[in-house]
Symmetry: none
Subunit: 397 residues, 3 copies
DNA sequence: CTCGTTCTAGAATATTCGCAA
DNA sequence: TTTGCGAATATTCTAGAACGA
């Protein structure tokens, strides 16, 4: 009944291991296997008589579809149907560019440019054809004459214009958000770098803690001069601290030897409060630099080893200091310019708070988690899903 | 016959970064094969005895219909009937302008003006033939009346619609990805902040390590208070923990003096395991809470000075804990709304793994480096260029 | 270039006389040629191995599509594409009834019942060919105004096209930028994770600093075994280090007892340079599980505390090492493809520098702040505002 | 959900036939 | 008779839709 069953039957022979080119596996897995496999096939010199790049390398030609279907396809795909291969090509946006040859072109499929494969996108699975389905109206046997067609074109043009406007808004929004993210990322990278530097310095010097502690026992580190300067320069922060943040000395019991005051004004700790502030200022982002810079270089050289510690700690402290305060301003406002933009996902910039001077454990914790609102996160999730709505919202016109 | 069959080829120039003229992409640049083939035939010097341009180049003549039908036609078309060729000419508006010769004219078919071919419209096959109204102007059939313009507008409108749809998809994709990036960045910022807080606290207390060690030797550090607090705040996480994740004790040898159990419920280590969990819970982002939380709550209550350590370490631990496991789920799936979106560049979300409770050094190590890939950076860059194709690939429709 | 030109070319082969079966001509001309031809083919005993009736005669099977396409089709039709044949079958209502075989069924196509062919109706060419509307009598009436409308539509179409083009460019840009941000974020996440792991490990072992210091005094910490392993596994990194990066020893005075060399190859510091490298190498991503695992647990437990330190520091060091140096290369170039794109906001990727091996305090600081340029930030801000311009740039048309 | 495979359909072009001005 | 066109069929290329992995 089935004369040539094995030879030409479309049934796929599972026994054939479907040798997957290693390159496919090594490729960026984000490239669909079809693309990478096809690229390899076209690129394979041995297969040139059957499939090869075109002369200019901008397209490829299946010279012998029959052999290709019979030999090549089943070795790389789960079928031996040339039409399925072509369907995939079309799905990925390839076009037959020569009516006389099976020559296909795709902008992202070029000889020697395998990295461009990433640009090739699989075509959508129909769905939200907001625009497309509207085209169907043309079949309404419409009335008679060019006027009708013109009316139709004008309507559709309006739709297109509106969609373009929406897209522009969305694009603007996306770019803006991306810009914000970028800035925040830069800040984060800076903080990271600084943290790394600080820690590297720290741990490369085993004596660190020892000296740190030693210093603590010596006390008298506070620099009145610097302090005054600080008071002048950072009044705002000072006030902020007073009204809301409570600065608690570390642990009385642990610092029985500590004579210096524990108030904000008197950062008694061995870790210079001024420096901490300076750090905060120095690493802030956006327009905050001025405040920062002012506080720099307050370290007295004569502090010896301690100086290093100070520097290090300063560096470290700044990590959390360079708050993204301004972020809020940029972020929020930018979100609300189009109804078509779901902006929640972008919201909630992290407020690192300002770690000014020394802090008690409680304060630290608050800053670290209280302000941040760890529990807040779960609630924010919901906003994420709206991303879909953002772009898809232009549904009907 | 046709030396440079570039008629349809987009002429690729490898040296140029594929600058796609938008006009080409938007315009339906696909001239019907009949026109391009016929133009080539007429333009071919070797065939001048059979077919050639007229003296003024405004029309062409088939000097030898028999040879043309016998030799030329079957090489370029699927027939050898001169009448079929003529029928096609008529379909495209050509007119026989000399009763004595097979000389045909079409305003868009002129020597040296191949670009005019795109202006030639194929006659509609009946129906919605807006062409209908051209009946009045039927006298000059092959011309470029309003109908032709309307047809062209409709085609281009379709192209625009498709491109708008593609852009919408891309925009959606981009926004989604950006949202994910934003979430990850928020998480990272949280982690950073927490890390900073922890370290700040840590280094502000030089006795930290000393007490830490001391505590270790004392053992019995569990903090019931914190535990209770946690239990209240993170019930969900608690439950999640029970069902799956196994908590491994740190190092038995390091805790010889530790009397407290080492089960999940009793994190025996001097570093409070409960706190670690709390941290983890607190810093998880968006939809990730569940996975995270699962590993949490392995706490063992202990207090005193150690409490601080616990908090700190908890805070710290969470940094790496709030894994972005779910990322994969969000990332991948989110990619699927448009075929026209190149998503590779966004891939490879970092899997932080789940730091459940306390960990051995080995575990830590695994979490820390197993998945990451410093070497990856340089390589990934290349993948980036392809973004170009992403948006420009939809050329002609 | 075209190995099998004639074979696959759809060009008509005049040599084949296209033998039209007499029966077709004699048949009731109401039966389309496709049906009568196909019936004859299926009915032809000689072709049974290729195409034949099914066992019950209610359907037919193409056993060998490849041979059928290659031999049979061109002899009876004007093509050799199996898909075209299938298309015709579908047009006439045939259905594929076996997913494993090319078996088609049509109620009017049965063995020995040729008369039923006349019952088979060709499917309409979709579009409700309402013939009526083609009568464009109204033609000349609105013709004049119609052309005006057409002109208007054409202008607006041009605007739309330009806007779409701009949007595509912007989308491309945004996607590219977002890709960069994503990559940087991944790196940051990696660094964070590594940092966390390192610190977690570190602080889980209270003896860390004590032993660290102790070790420092002892010197001679190099682990030849690890080194060798590293050399084998991470040759690339080794080479990279050699050719460009300068490794600065930490502090000579701190290592007076250190017998091992201080060159790159011999990280003399108590913080193993090799391990640092290993860390860096080990954390590459992609399908990096292998690397990972390889890098894991490479430390011999019996090496004592120092081993841990090595791991830890390496881990830590890598944080700053996986610099985003190349970023710059990607970033800049990618920015310049559209005048309409404000790209500044994306610029200035952070250059972490390469912290290779050990570093002096000065070096550390430089890396930490010099390259980063904290003062640089203010300048970067400005670039942010351009985002607006990016999307709104389509100004004039 | 994405990707791959299959089957069918849409839509445009191509070929043939025959009629009619 | 010549010439052009309607109409049906044929061929091509691409897309829709369903389904499974």
């Amino acid at each position: 009944m089935n004369p040539n069953d094995d030879k030409n039957s479309p049934k796929f022979d599972a026994s054939v291991p479907v040798p997957v080119p290693m390159e496919c596996l090594l490729m960026n897995n984000t490239v669909p296997p079809f693309l990478s496999k096809t690229f390899e096939l076209v690129d394979e010199p041995c297969l040139n008589p059957i499939i090869s790049w075109s002369s200019n390398g901008a397209s490829f030609v299946v010279w012998d579809p029959l052999e290709f279907a019979r030999i090549i396809l089943p070795r790389h795909f789960k079928h031996n149907n040339f039409s399925s291969f072509v369907r995939q090509l079309n799905t990925y946006g390839f076009r037959k560019i020569d009516s006389d040859k099976w020559e296909f072109f795709n902008e992202g499929f070029q000889k020697g440019k395998k990295h461009l494969l990433k640009n090739i996108q699989r075509r959508r699975s129909s769905q939200s054809q907001q625009v497309g389905n509207y085209v169907g109206s043309s079949s309404d046997a419409g009335k008679f004459g060019a006027e009708v067609e013109i009316e139709r074109l004008k309507k559709e043009r309006s739709v297109l214009m509106q969609q373009v406007v929406d897209l522009q808004q969305q694009q603007r929004m996306t770019a803006r958000r991306a810009g914000n993210v970028n800035q925040r990322l830069q800040s984060a990278e800076q903080r990271q770098k600084q943290m790394v530097s600080f820690l590297a310095k720290l741990f490369q010097n085993p004596d660190f803690l020892a000296r740190l502690k030693q210093k603590k026992e010596q006390k008298g580190i506070e620099s009145p001069r610097l302090r005054r300067k600080f008071v002048k320069q950072h009044q705002n922060e000072e006030e902020n601290l007073k009204d809301g943040k409570k600065i608690v000395r570390y642990q009385a019991n642990c610092e029985s030897k500590e004579p210096s005051p524990v108030s904000i004004e008197h950062s008694p700790h061995y870790l210079s409060h001024d420096l901490v502030k300076e750090m905060s200022a120095g690493s802030s982002s956006f327009g905050l630099d001025e405040q920062f810079v002012k506080g720099k270089n307050v370290i007295s050289p004569n502090e010896g080893v301690i100086t290093e510690n100070f520097e290090g700690f300063q560096e470290f402290q700044s990590l959390g200091t360079e708050s993204i305060i301004k972020q809020e301003d940029i972020w929020g406002p930018n979100m609300n310019f189009g109804s078509s933009c779901g902006n929640e996902m972008w919201g909630n910039p992290i407020n690192y708070g300002v770690i000014t001077g020394e802090m008690s454990e409680t304060d630290m914790w608050d800053i670290g988690f209280g302000c941040l609102g760890i529990d807040k996160w779960p609630g924010d999730e919901s906003s994420f899903d709206e991303i879909d709505g953002q772009a898809s919202q232009p549904k009907d016109y």
